[in-house]
Symmetry: C2
Subunit: 122 residues, 2 copies
Amino acid sequence: MRIGEVAAKAGVSVRAMRYYEQQNLLQADCRLGGQRHYADTAVGRVRMIQHLYAAGLSSSTIREVLPCVDTGEVPPELLDRLTAERTHIDQRITELLAVRARLDEVIAAARNPDPECHHMQY
Amino acid sequence: MRIGEVAAKAGVSVRAMRYYEQQNLLQADCRLGGQRHYADTAVGRVRMIQHLYAAGLSSSTIREVLPCVDTGEVPPELLDRLTAERTHIDQRITELLAVRARLDEVIAAARNPDPECHHMQY
DNA sequence: CTTGCACCTGACGCTAACGTCAGGTTTTAG
DNA sequence: CTAAAACCTGACGTTAGCGTCAGGTGCAAG
């Protein structure tokens, strides 16, 4: 597969894939006439990269994490980093849940206008 | 209170507060000799703004949402927007949960090296 | 052969949420 | 009164994850 096909299947832009390569998150299997060629597994890998980005991880963090996800081998020095990242994600989840609850209150109030509503002080 | 005190109590920079004002998220109660003065409630408001930013909302979205949180009154046209935003947040939560679970697998594997481990294909 | 599409490598543009510096004013402490 | 803080208004810098354009190449079809 060439880059366009992989990009389409994974739902990203060609530009994004070249960017991932620059960031050392992804390598083409080979180059034929200057053009990148990929195995089928690349599609899944690109999707995984997207998920990690969506989770708020930076390129450099993803660069560290990906090999572990691939091989299952985790150098112990990375364990702390991963645990820290997990904690960070946990915090973001908690914040998101709080904001969602907030939004739900507002939405509920909008649907069911309550004249005696006692609004919270933030 | 002047800007520095509010910023310190809310845990943000002075620059950030001036930025919030530019974005119409926050107004000073008055100006004395060109300097901004705030009521105590400003601290909570700034924290709320931070939470919304942390939830991934943009300045313009926050600008729409904040008055509703304040007053509890929601113009019906905003309801769709809020619901959409809620859906979006839901998606991000789901993604974060997935990534966290992924991280947990890797961490568990690292702590408990399993020679017969069958790694998932992403 | 040539048309046309997909691909290539730079390289500059963009947005958001501030950081930071310059140059000047106001408030506060001694 | 005076010097140090704290504040003010621009305005330019920064970072990340791409978008997009320019100018040139490779591959399949007619």
